[in-house]
């Protein structure tokens, strides 16, 4: 839990007696300051990402911003990724699916969120503190602020931390060798000794570059209670059967840094202030649900929550039973803009049986309530037993997700 320092509590009491109009005005003034620091009190990933996007679009072009936020358990896929390929969707809602209890207990309901930046899939929970830096494009490099975070970690004694060649932050494993240059954030005293032992990833980076601004955000695994099951969530049963355009995740073993949220936040605050000295010492400003007052934040929030953004935004892919030996048919489906755009059913010897029916062209995968019914309509005249086999397979590969309780 991000705790409030005393200055922040004073500020909050003051805000309680002010009008909404004064809040908006001071918020706008603040967006023009050369150095800004925000911390979110919300755990809602859709809200936090919408506030972040608002800061990107509305902060003064020459300003530099640090934004820290923690999300409730959620899986965050990149802008151009495929949720069916990257995520075990069946695990996400234990209420509507019969998922066995794990030992220790799992994270409960996990949100699925597509972010606006590029890159791969990550898992967020209360043991992960996300950091964002927004700056002018001419000041931007992909490593600059990851290096800042490593300096912050090293100031807390995490000397195994370094930036790797993918602009992520890792902890070198293995034994300690000779000292290395402290200022070199790309090597540690453990790096050379670690031949053959993979480092543990503790932070993944992603970016969004607009005409006027550059955004770099990353995770930071401080003390996640869910490390043991993250691999299950990020492993989709459909992976062997899907060929996708877009971006696939690069899988890495992960680990916890084992640092308290507050210590980490203070260390980042210090390193950020060293890079960007402000005329006054940098106090953070709280952001949260009250920012939904701002129309662009609310609109962005609704868009991120929408099933269209989550599913229809998926780049084109095909899914095929060819690699499934237990099914005696070759079914191939093409999904474009999240909807069935083509498909064939063939015997294993290549002889075609049926094409996807015209009626089902444009059927959104996210809207399928039952594959049993849908498969019979996809391939008119298909034998009952074959339809049943394919429907059962599709139930596993493209599971019905969230149809009970979302728009």
């Amino acid at each position: 839990m991000i705790t409030l320092n005393r200055a922040c509590t004073r500020a909050r009491a003051h805000r309680q007696v002010t009008t909404r109009r004064w809040l908006s005005q001071s918020r706008l003034d603040r967006l023009a300051e050369p150095v800004q620091f925000y911390i979110s009190t919300s755990r809602d990933p859709y809200l936090n990402l919408s506030i972040e996007h608002y800061l990107l679009q509305n902060s003064a072009p020459e300003s530099t911003i640090l934004f820290l936020y923690v999300n409730r358990p959620s899986i965050i896929i990149g802008r151009n990724q495929n949720p069916w390929l990257e995520v075990n969707l069946a695990l996400l809602n234990p209420v509507s699916n019969d998922t066995p209890e794990t030992e220790p207990p799992g994270p409960g309901i996990v949100d699925l969120v597509r972010r606006r930046s590029g890159g791969g899939t990550v898992f967020h929970d209360e043991g992960n503190v996300n950091w964002t830096v927004i700056c002018p494009p001419k000041e931007f490099t992909r490593d600059k602020h990851a290096e800042m975070v490593v300096r912050a970690l090293r100031s807390c004694g995490i000397e195994r931390s370094r930036v790797n060649e993918r602009h992520d932050i890792v902890l070198d494993q293995g034994t300690r060798g000779a000292d290395t240059e402290l200022e070199d954030t790309h090597v540690t005293p453990y790096t050379r000794q670690a031949a053959g032992v993979r480092p543990l990833k503790v932070s993944g980076s992603a970016y969004k570059l607009t005409r006027q601004r550059a955004l770099h955000h990353g995770t930071c695994l401080l003390a996640s209670p869910n490390l043991h099951i993250i691999p299950d969530y990020l492993h989709s049963p459909a992976k062997p059967y899907i060929t996708a355009r877009g971006v696939e995740s690069v899988s890495s073993p992960v680990g916890n840094i084992m640092l308290a949220n507050e210590r980490y936040i203070d260390a980042i605050r210090v390193k950020f202030a060293e890079m960007y000295p402000a005329t006054n010492p940098i106090e953070h400003v709280e952001v949260g649900e009250d920012w939904l007052d701002l129309d662009p934040v609310r609109q962005g929030y609704e868009e991120l929550k929408s099933r269209d953004w989550t599913f229809v935004q998926t780049p084109q892919f095909t899914i095929s039973t060819k690699a499934e030996p237990s099914i005696n048919l070759d079914m191939e489906l093409t999904v474009r803009n999240g909807a069935l755009s083509g498909g064939t059913l063939c015997r294993r010897n290549g002889e075609k049986i049926l094409d996807l029916s015209e009626q089902l062209q444009g059927q959104r995968v996210q809207d399928v309530d039952s594959w049993s019914v849908t498969v019979s309509n996809m391939f008119e005249g298909i034998a009952t037993a074959e339809a049943r086999t394919l429907a059962a397979w599709l139930d596993t590969m493209l599971p019905v997700y969230g149809r009970h309780n979302s728009k």
Partner: protein, 144 residues
């Protein structure tokens, strides 16, 4: 970049196939009748972006204002907006990029074109840079 000029083109006026560039590193090349413009990103931009792994193309018939996002590319975990220098309607997109996004890196100013726009206001072309002006502009940016 292909510098050979087909004989048929020599008869046309010089300006019909000279590329113009923006400060955001896009180029636009007008059709011979001046009604549509083909848009892409410059070699300088493609190099700066790194290996393009995905291109988000606009929908046909989308209407855009000058400076609006025409699409986006992803490279090295970065989602980058591509802007249109001119206002108008999207009439064609380069579907090759859907299958082979790396075409943008191989030939950013040729085969890697992104979209064609039916220009709404010819005035939008004013203030764009010629190839040599753009070269000076990028050299100055490097020097800063």
């Amino acid at each position: 970049m292909n510098t050979k000029v087909p004989a048929a083109m020599l008869a046309r006026s010089f300006t019909s196939w000279e590329k113009k560039y923006t400060q955001d590193h896009e180029w636009i090349e007008l059709s011979s009748d001046g009604k549509t413009g083909t848009i892409g990103i410059s070699t300088y931009a493609a190099t700066a972006l790194g290996d393009v792994v995905y291109v988000e193309l606009p929908q046909i018939d989308t209407e855009l204002g000058a400076g609006d996002a025409l699409g986006a590319v992803e490279s090295v975990k970065s989602a980058s907006d591509i802007l249109t220098p001119v206002s108008g309607k999207v009439v064609k997109v380069n579907e090759v990029l859907e299958e082979t996004p790396a075409t943008i890196n191989k030939s950013p100013e040729g085969d890697g074109w992104i979209a064609q726009i039916e220009i709404a206001d010819e005035g939008d072309m004013n203030g764009l840079m010629s190839a040599s002006e753009y070269k000076d502009f990028t050299e100055k940016a490097e020097g800063d």
